[in-house]
């Protein structure tokens, strides 16, 4: 019997507060002068006292509610002791015994099937500073000393701890994607793995032959979703090999080495940390009243899953279309505004999915920066739906509107596209112009030498091209035969 894969994840999300968790320093640190956002509290000057940021409690509660957790009326802080230069106090203030939110779930979808991953709890804690190692190759080994920037020290984190409910690397990746989407919908965190505002640690084990749980290994240092998947796949095959050869899995922490594509044992027993958790006596417990929780609940926006369901019911879109449109809240809002402005639901979905995302990608913009506002896109899509302009022209118009900040009318003028379809006198005039520009071809047709109809088709093509497709082919043929007496 194949061993079952058992994965649980601990995800750290940096909260989008303006200030740090326990002091009024700005929580911004990327691109700032090192040690510019620091104060006696986050530098652990003796005699200072931390004071909890109300905004961090609100964001952690929102995330907890989004994960269907119970928000606790009473939770406490503790100290996790470890000695490392990125930690000014030599301990991290975290929640250990009583976290702020407990027992929730997050539904994930994979290959059309839905799966519920249970959330054990969510807690608040402070981030550490950043070490800079002054060696030529940037590696620790050989550095004579370390340089520390405490701007990040004390920035609020929310750690979301799942139950070991995932059974493949793909599920783990999907879980992180859904959690990140939720955090973004709730404006709780920007969830960027590359910049470190979302960090994932994984616990992974394989079941024993009798189905009981095996020894679990913790993996750290995965800086992208791809790294998460690769690290888990590597670890599964490593553990299988160890077990196949009759060996035992050691309970340990391993670091993912992305360049080498392997996990490595991090520390031996000799230096294994004993965090000596104990209560943080400098901070009062977090007391959240029922009415405060109700207030957070009232302020919750529609969650991604609820939005997907509503999009399916209201707009009759396919699962794939819905997944793309609802991935970002701003894009889903854009779609709804386009539909509200009168665009047909299916065509608007198709245009946003294919063309708007293409242009955004080419311009390196996100939807909030997009110059074509929903009512303008609705105007364009309506014209296409009514057959006033072809899809090809529509794409050119969208490009112009987005790149040069033009209205639909301005773009039409700039492109020289005919306003609507060409027919009647305007079409006859165009056909006549084309005929005069091709005297030899016209002569051949007039003399009845266009036996196979190739020449007349050639002229039809020229007219259609000049009309940018905005003419009825039958009417074009009629005009030409009128002019050439064929």
């Amino acid at each position: 019997m194949a061993r079952q894969i058992v994965i649980g994840l601990e995800v750290h999300l940096q909260l989008l507060t303006k200030t740090k968790l326990f002091c009024s320093c700005s929580a911004e640190y990327i691109g700032h002068t090192p040690n510019s956002n620091v104060c006696p509290i986050c530098l652990a000057v003796p005699g200072t006292l931390p004071l909890l940021n109300d905004g961090a409690v609100a964001l952690a509660s929102r995330l907890g509610l989004g994960l269907h957790c119970t928000i606790q009326n009473y939770s406490t802080f503790g100290r996790k002791n470890y000695f490392y230069a990125d930690l000014a106090k030599a301990y991290q203030i975290t929640q250990y015994e009583l976290p702020v939110a407990t027992k929730g779930y997050l539904d994930i979808e994979l290959g059309g099937a839905s799966k519920r991953v249970r959330i054990h709890h969510l807690h608040l804690e402070e981030d550490a500073g950043k070490l800079v190692h002054p060696t030529a190759d940037g590696r620790l080994t050989g550095a004579a000393y370390s340089l520390v920037d405490y701007n990040r020290g004390g920035v609020p984190l929310s750690e979301v701890v799942s139950e070991p409910d995932m059974s493949s690397p793909a599920e783990a990746k999907e879980y992180v994607m859904r959690l990140r989407q939720l955090a973004r919908y709730l404006d709780v965190s920007d969830g960027e793995m590359e910049s470190g505002s979302l960090r994932v640690d994984a616990n992974i084990s394989l079941t024993n032959a009798d189905g009981t749980l095996g020894t679990r290994v913790e993996i750290k240092n995965m800086n992208s979703l791809k790294a998460l998947e690769r690290a888990l796949e590597y670890e599964i095959s490593r553990q299988n090999k160890v077990l196949d050869s009759g060996g035992r899995i050691v309970q340990e922490t391993r670091l993912w080495d992305d360049a080498e594509g392997v996990t490595r044992s991090m520390r031996n027993k000799e230096t294994a940390s004993d965090y000596r958790y104990y209560p943080e006596m400098d901070l009062a417990p977090i007391v959240i009243s029922d009415s405060e929780i109700e207030g957070y609940r009232q302020s919750m926006p529609e969650l991604p899953q609820e939005k997907r369901l509503r999009f399916a019911q209201s707009f009759g879109l396919s699962g794939e279309e819905i997944a793309i449109l609802t991935e970002q809240k701003a894009l889903a809002d854009y779609y709804e505004a386009t539909v509200s402005a009168g665009a047909p639901t299916a065509r608007a979905a198709n245009w946003i999915r294919m063309e708007v995302l293409r242009v955004l990608n080419e311009l390196g913009q996100d939807i909030s920066e997009f110059r074509v506002k929903p009512d303008a896109l609705a105007g364009l899509v309506k014209k296409i739906e009514q057959g006033d302009i072809s899809s090809t022209i529509g794409k050119d118009l969208l490009d112009l509107m987005a790149r040069e900040d033009l209205t639909l009318d301005e773009a039409v003028k700039r492109l020289g596209a005919p306003q609507g379809r060409l027919s009647g006198d305007a079409l006859r005039e165009l056909a006549s112009r084309i005929v005069s520009s091709q005297p030899d071809v016209a002569e051949t047709i007039k003399n009845g030498l266009d036996k196979k109809g190739g020449k007349i088709k050639f002229l039809q093509g020229l007219v259609m091209k000049e009309a940018r497709g905005q003419a009825d082919p039958n009417e074009v043929a009629g005009c030409l035969s009128e002019l050439l007496g064929s």
């Binding site: 507060t17 009024s24 320093c25 002068t33 040690n35 004071l51 109300d54 230069a85 080994t141 340089l147």
Partner: protein, 99 residues
């Protein structure tokens, strides 16, 4: 029950705490730790029956503050008070245990 530490345990503790202790400093450190242990033994003699293990001290101040940034006005003081500072960074002994 009264506990004491000897030279060996003192050195072991220093290692666990990643402290550098010169041979001539060991005795002073050992005596300090034993003073602390003596004090603990003294406190241990108190009758604490019915008293909870841990209580948060009462605080008259609010327990949360609004999320409004404030700059610390006197940044230079950190630089001048820090044992070592280089450029814009605090400078610390190199990380000892790695890999």
């Amino acid at each position: 029950m009264k506990m004491t530490v000897d030279r060996d345990i003192t050195l072991k503790m220093a290692k666990a705490a990643q402290l550098r202790v010169e041979p001539e400093q060991v005795e002073k450190m050992m005596n300090s730790i034993n003073d602390i242990l003596d004090f603990c033994a003294l406190v241990g003699d108190l009758d604490c029956s019915g008293v909870p293990d841990f209580m948060w001290r009462m605080r008259k101040l609010p327990s949360r503050r609004p999320d409004v940034p404030k700059d610390w006005p006197d940044r230079e003081i950190f630089e001048s008070k820090a044992p070592t500072f280089e450029g814009e960074f605090f400078k610390t002994p190199r990380i000892m245990a790695e890999g």
